[in-house]
Symmetry: C2
Subunit: 384 residues, 2 copies
């Protein structure tokens, strides 16, 4: 393995010289606030809509850079532009948050899901910590309470339940709530202890030890559902869930949880890795049928970002060579195919053979988040 | 070019010996009625849900075989099983039709679109003609009236409109209504003359002669919208719309419409054909940006099915060698990659390089429809 110092300088250079400058230069709308998301390879805007998942995440990201790296006024200013847009425009009176808006903040679309709300909360929590604006944290906590209730009853956000619907629960919900609580609570984690325990309990229902499999969707009692949805594996998502859980295992000092988190990362990576062509598949079917998602065999940037940090974190805890080798394997693949040093940021989408299929750097679901978060987390972990 | 008689026997053999038997053998639920849709390469069921677009289309298809090919009692019986399931279970009291159901007919999901309703109508119209059951046609006409109203105001089916939403219209709506009216009206087309004229007018707004481009989504006055949605091209869809329009142009004896229909097919094929690897792209961006759909460069079965019939029909009208060459090109590509003579039916999904990415023959959006309809239409046209 190359020396840690080598990787550390690679991640530092990538983050501060190739990734963050792209977003600083091309995404910030200094007139209306908020961030443009649809940015072509060279940063050219190909759509002016603002996507709220991505506006929330970028607000959080620049807040984090300010608090965790260096108090550069320009980073706080970018975070403020994001937070102002989100507060002024993105939230409806009932607390619900839009999915997409015009560049001046008129609503375009609202999802029947709670993720826009989650990233709004994440943004406000991060921004409050960066700016010292306590009311932003108050708003984050207030919306978190609502989202907590909605997460138990999605009918409340307009998702009707029909008689033939198989009762099920999705890994995404407890997973994002766990991450949100980490962001909102800060050093005050004890306040959220019951919610954290419940999220962990719900997440563990997805981890089937006997089959070494993490399912995206299970029955409310955790049992397997033999359908397209029940067999679906999303290895990158399960790997990300693994490091979310590991953070809590470390904080709670629970070895059992830590072992489970290690397993989630190892099993999902092992299952998701394309042994023939390299890279992590987007979707798989646990019984080997073809997933119905057309993009199942593509290699997306974000599962690779999540795997970088998850393996590094796991290795830092276990000291096991298997985890180091996994980190090096995913590092090698990722840095060979995703970065674009000519214009900055990373490509998001490769075909199974690792050819770039989409030249843009930002789109409705790709913003300033997975790449810089993973680089920052890895860089900080390597510095420790 | 090979002799027409050669193609005719190829299409006949494919339809009656390789495609229809697959669905007869594996899809029919003789206990509950309706059709299973999720069928693996060899017909094994990998999910028991019933998708209503596909149940409607298969009911129509077997009705059509019965009326247009041969009055085989087993085909009528299959159509009846489909029609009974659709009538008993798929329609809600307010006329809305579910998107998916359990195999015993409990609702699972309802879309905020009108396509389930459209295929329900198509099924009932076809079944009524095959069976002589006049009440099925009455039900089809009654629902068509509702769908006509809903199509002008999608908020009525639960699709909220927000302040920042760009007013737009989608090619899919006038196109499917035009096809539905053809199916419902039969020989009584004059009754629907005003509706037909309106559909044609709305469709023509999508055809931009100066750019030789057919847009999926345009402003209500037909003008171009410079956004992800406005620039989207779906060549297979535009080709299909071309032959829907050509059918009406022939019936109405309107040369101007016929020429436009010819252009829609030629331009969309020319634009959609992958000159490097062959096959028709699923999506393109009219200004050359990367489409945001992850599957944009895949080669799907249905655009190729639609192109087969569209080129053949166009050639039969124009007698132009260009159209014959286009038919032969798409025939060659299609028959080299999609059929599976080991187990029957066609694969649905190829990557850009024409490798099969999904081994199943039936899935939530692929049923007994595009392949047999195109084969039947081509075979009949070649027989004339």
């Amino acid at each position: 393995m190359k020396a840690l110092a080598h990787y550390r300088s690679v991640y530092e250079n990538e983050l501060f010289n190739h990734v963050i400058p792209f977003w600083e230069k091309h995404s910030v709308d200094r007139r209306n606030g908020g961030f443009w998301n649809c940015l072509d390879r060279d940063g050219t805007r190909y759509d002016s809509k603002k996507f709220i998942w991505l506006n929330g995440r970028q607000t959080w990201m620049f807040s984090k850079l300010y608090t965790a790296v260096e108090q550069r006024p320009e980073w706080l200013e970018i975070a403020r532009l994001g937070a102002d847009f989100l507060r002024t425009h993105a939230r409806r009176d009932d607390g619900r948050v839009y999915f997409s808006m015009t560049e001046t903040g008129e609503p375009v679309h609202m999802q029947r899901k709670i993720f826009s709300e989650c990233f709004w909360i994440m943004a406000m929590a991060g921004y409050s910590r960066a700016s010292g604006d306590a009311s932003a944290m108050g708003e984050a906590k207030e919306l978190l309470e609502k989202v907590w209730k909605w997460s138990r009853d999605l009918a409340k956000v307009g998702r009707p339940v029909y008689a033939g619907d198989t009762p099920s629960q999705s890994l995404a919900i407890p997973m994002i709530l766990l991450n949100l609580i980490e962001e909102v609570a800060g050093d005050d984690r004890e306040t959220y202890r019951p919610e954290v325990e419940e999220c962990i309990e719900r997440m563990l229902l997805h981890v089937h030890e006997d089959e070494e499999t993490v399912y995206e969707t299970v029955a409310p009692d955790g049992s397997f559902i033999d359908s397209i949805e029940g067999r679906l594996l999303n290895p990158g998502h399960a790997i990300e869930a693994g490091w979310f859980l590991q953070h809590w295992a470390q904080y709670l000092k629970r070895d059992d949880l830590s072992r489970t988190a290690v397993n989630m990362v190892r099993w999902s990576y092992d299952r998701g890795w394309d042994r023939e062509k390299g890279g992590i598949y987007y979707f798989l079917d646990s019984k080997g049928y073809s997933p119905t998602q057309l993009e199942w065999n593509m290699k997306l940037w974000w599962p690779h970002c999540e795997a970088l940090y998850a393996h590094l974190l796991t290795y830092s805890i276990t000291g096991n060579e298997q985890d180091r080798a996994a980190f090096e394997q995913v590092h090698e693949y990722t840095f060979s195919h995703f970065p674009d040093h000519k214009f900055g940021e990373w490509y998001g989408y490769l075909d199974r053979d690792a050819r770039v299929t989409h030249r843009f750097k930002g789109g409705p679901y790709k913003g300033c988040f997975h790449v810089p978060r993973a680089l920052l987390l890895c860089w900080k972990r390597m510095s420790e």
